[in-house]
C-alpha cells in the first residue's frame, strides 16, 4: 500500500515542478546549463556504448544467421532495425539512468542536506520548479538527440566492423539496412525515448529532492534513483511496445 503514498508524493512534486518559471531569462540559462550537464557531458559514454553495440550486433548476427540460405544483407537489416527499435533507446537510456540519474539525485540530495533547498524556499523561490523543471526540459531536449546520435554511431559501428572482419560488403550492409527501414520504427523509438527521458529526470529529481537530511541518505537516494528509473524504463518499454507495435 505504501506504493500509493510514493506515487502520490511523486505526482504532488510534479505539480510543484510544472509551474510558470519566476524569471524566464534565468530559466533559459538554467536549461542551457543542465543541457550541458545532461547532454554534452554524456556524449562520450553514449558514443562508446553505441559503437560497440553496433559492432557486436553485426558479429553476433553473422555468427547466428548467415549461411548459404540466408543472404548477407540480413546483417545490415538486423543491425539497423534492432539498433533503432531497441538497442539505442533502451540500452542507452539504462546507461543514462545510471549516469544522469545518480548525478541529479546526488546533486539535489546534497542541496537538501546543506539546507540550500530550504534557503530557496525561505526566500520565496519555488525550489522544486527552479531546480527540477530545467533538468526535465533539458533531458527532454538532449536525451532524444543523444539517442539519435547513438543510432547513427551504432549502425556505423556495425558497418565498419562488418568490413574490417570481412563479414559482408559495404553494399550488402547498406542494402539490408535500407530495405528494412520503416519510418514508424523511428517514430516509435523517439516516443520511447521521450518517455525514458522524462522517467530518468523526474524519478531522479524526486529521489534527490526528497532525500533525508544525512549524507548516507543521499547515497541511498542516488541508488534508488538508478534502480527505480531502470525498472520504470523497462516497464514502460514493454507497455509501449505492447500498445504501439
Amino acid at each position: 500500500m505504501k506504493i500509493f503514498y510514493y506515487v502520490g508524493e511523486y505526482i504532488k512534486l510534479l505539480g510543484k515542478v510544472f509551474t510558470r518559471p519566476e524569471r524566464t531569462r534565468i530559466f533559459i540559462e538554467r536549461i542551457m546549463a543542465e543541457g550541458n550537464a545532461i547532454g554534452v557531458d554524456s556524449l562520450g559514454i553514449v558514443a562508446i556504448i553505441s559503437v560497440f553495440i553496433g559492432a557486436v550486433t553485426t558479429i553476433n548476427t553473422a555468427y547466428q544467421l548467415v549461411s548459404g540460405f540466408v543472404p548477407n544483407e540480413i546483417i545490415g537489416s538486423v543491425v539497423s532495425d534492432s539498433t533503432i527499435l531497441e538497442f539505442s533507446p533502451t540500452i542507452c537510456s539504462l546507461v543514462l539512468a545510471g549516469k544522469i540519474g545518480s548525478n541529479i539525485a546526488t546533486e539535489l540530495g546534497s542541496m537538501r542536506v546543506a539546507e540550500e533547498i530550504d534557503a530557496m524556499e525561505v526566500m520565496g523561490v519555488n525550489a522544486a520548479s527552479y531546480l527540477i523543471l530545467p533538468k526535465i526540459i533539458a533531458a527532454l531536449i538532449t536525451i532524444p538527440m543523444l539517442i539519435l546520435i547513438s543510432m547513427c554511431l551504432s549502425i556505423l559501428g556495425g558497418f565498419v566492423i562488418g568490413q574490417v572482419a570481412g563479414l559482408l560488403s559495404a553494399q550488402e550492409f547498406v542494402t539490408g539496412a535500407r530495405n528494412s527501414f520503416r519510418t514508424y520504427t523511428l517514430i516509435f523509438a523517439m516516443i520511447k525515448t521521450y518517455v525514458f527521458a522524462f522517467v530518468i529526470s523526474s524519478m531522479a529529481s524526486y529521489q534527490g529532492y526528497n532525500a533525508g537530511n544525512s549524507s548516507i541518505e543521499v547515497g541511498k537516494a542516488s541508488t534508488r534513483a538508478v534502480v527505480y528509473s531502470s525498472v520504470l524504463i523497462l516497464l514502460s518499454d514493454y507497455i509501449l511496445a505492447q500498445l504501439l507495435l
Binding site: 524569471r23 534565468i26 542541496m111 546543506a114 539546507e115 530550504d118 534557503a119 525561505v122 526566500m123 520565496g124
Partner: protein, 295 residues
C-alpha cells in the same frame, strides 16, 4: 509583528511543540534559547514556513502564514531573511552570485545595480575581494557573514538566525553577534535568533524566550533573566561553562540539581557582561561582586 498562537507540532505520535504562544518584539533582537531537543529549531522552521504546524497559528501582522495564498506567501517571504546554522550558501555559485540570487529572482534591478547592492552588502559584513570565490574556499565565519549579506540584500523586515554561533570560535562568534545586532538596529529589522550561547543572550538579547520540552518555560528581558528564579532556566544558564567557573571562583558550587545555588554570583556575572547590576546588588554575607570572572 510576529505572533505565535498555541503552536503545536508533532511528528507521528511524538509531540515536539506542545502549544506555544508569544509575540516577538518589533525592531528588537528576540532570542529563543533552550537545550538541544527543546523545540527551538522546529519553532523557527514553523515561523519561516519550512514546516507546517500541526495546529495553531503563525501570524505576521495578524495574517496566518499557513493560510495565505501561495502568491501572498511568496510576497511575505521576500520580507524574510534567514541565516542558516551552516550558512546554506549555494555551493555551485560564487559568493557574488549567492548574494545576488534573491535580487536576480525578485527585483527588476539592472546588472550594474545588482552588482552595487551586492558590493554594499558584502562591504557591510566586512568582506572584501571575495566576490569571485566559492563557498568552499571560505572559512566558517566568512560563510556566516556571506549568509548575513544574502539575508539582508532585499532589506528584509524580519531576520531569522538559526544558531549563528554554531561551529565558530568565541572571537568570531562575538563578531557575528555584534554584526547581527548592528544590522537589527541599522535596518530596524525584527530579529529572531535561536541560540545556545549565553554570551550572545546576555550581550545582545532584548527579548528572551526560554524553551523547555516543547513549551515556553520562561520569557522576558535580560534584566528579568538576571532576577529570575525559574529553576529550569537557571539550570540552563548555570550549565554555561563561564558562569559555572565564575561560581566556583566565587566560592560557590553548582551541583547540577537544577536549583540556583546562590543568585548573587549570577547577577554579578551578568553585570560584568551587560553592566546592569552593581556591587550594591550583592546582599551582605554573600559572595563578593569581585567574584565575576574576567571575560
Amino acid at each position: 509583528m510576529i505572533e505565535l498562537k498555541n503552536l503545536k507540532k508533532h511528528f507521528g505520535s511524538k509531540e515536539v511543540i506542545k502549544g506555544i504562544s508569544t509575540q516577538f518584539q518589533e525592531g528588537k533582537t528576540n532570542m529563543i534559547i533552550g537545550g538541544s531537543g527543546s523545540g527551538k529549531t522546529v519553532t523557527m522552521k514553523c515561523l519561516v514556513g519550512l514546516m507546517k504546524p500541526s495546529s495553531g497559528e503563525v501570524l505576521y501582522n495578524g495574517k496566518n502564514l499557513n493560510r495565505l495564498k501561495y502568491k501572498f506567501q511568496v510576497k511575505l517571504r521576500k520580507e524574510l531573511g534567514m541565516l542558516f546554522q551552516y550558512s546554506a550558501l549555494f555551493s555551485s555559485m560564487t559568493i557574488e552570485e549567492n548574494v545576488a540570487f534573491p535580487l536576480r529572482m525578485f527585483s527588476d534591478m539592472t546588472s550594474k545595480e545588482i552588482k552595487d547592492r551586492v558590493d554594499f552588502c558584502l562591504d557591510r559584513v566586512n568582506l572584501e575581494k571575495v566576490n569571485k570565490l566559492y563557498p568552499d574556499e571560505m572559512s566558517g565565519g566568512m560563510k556566516k557573514r556571506v549568509g548575513i549579506a544574502r539575508a539582508i540584500v532585499l532589506n528584509p523586515k524580519y531576520l531569522f538566525c538559526d544558531e549563528p554561533n554554531s561551529g565558530l570560535d568565541p572571537i568570531t562568534s562575538s563578531v557575528i553577534d555584534k554584526l547581527i545586532k548592528e544590522i537589527t538596529e541599522e535596518f530596524n529589522t525584527t530579529t529572531i535568533i535561536n541560540t545556545h550561547d549565553m554570551n550572545s543572550v546576555l550581550e545582545y538579547g532584548d527579548h528572551i524566550i526560554f524553551m523547555y520540552q516543547g513549551l515556553i518555560q520562561w520569557e522576558g528581558s535580560v534584566e528579568d533573566l538576571k532576577h529570575s528564579d525559574d529553576e529550569k532556566l537557571n539550570e540552563f544558564i548555570y550549565a554555561s561553562d563561564f558562569i559555572k567557573k565564575g561560581l566556583s571562583e566565587g566560592g560557590h558550587q553548582y551541583h547540577g540539581d537544577g536549583k540556583t545555588p546562590d543568585k548573587v554570583p549570577l547577577i554579578n556575572l551578568i553585570a560584568s557582561k551587560v553592566g546592569g547590576a552593581s556591587k550594591g546588588d550583592v546582599p551582605a554575607g554573600s559572595a563578593s561582586a569581585d567574584a565575576s570572572p574576567k571575560l
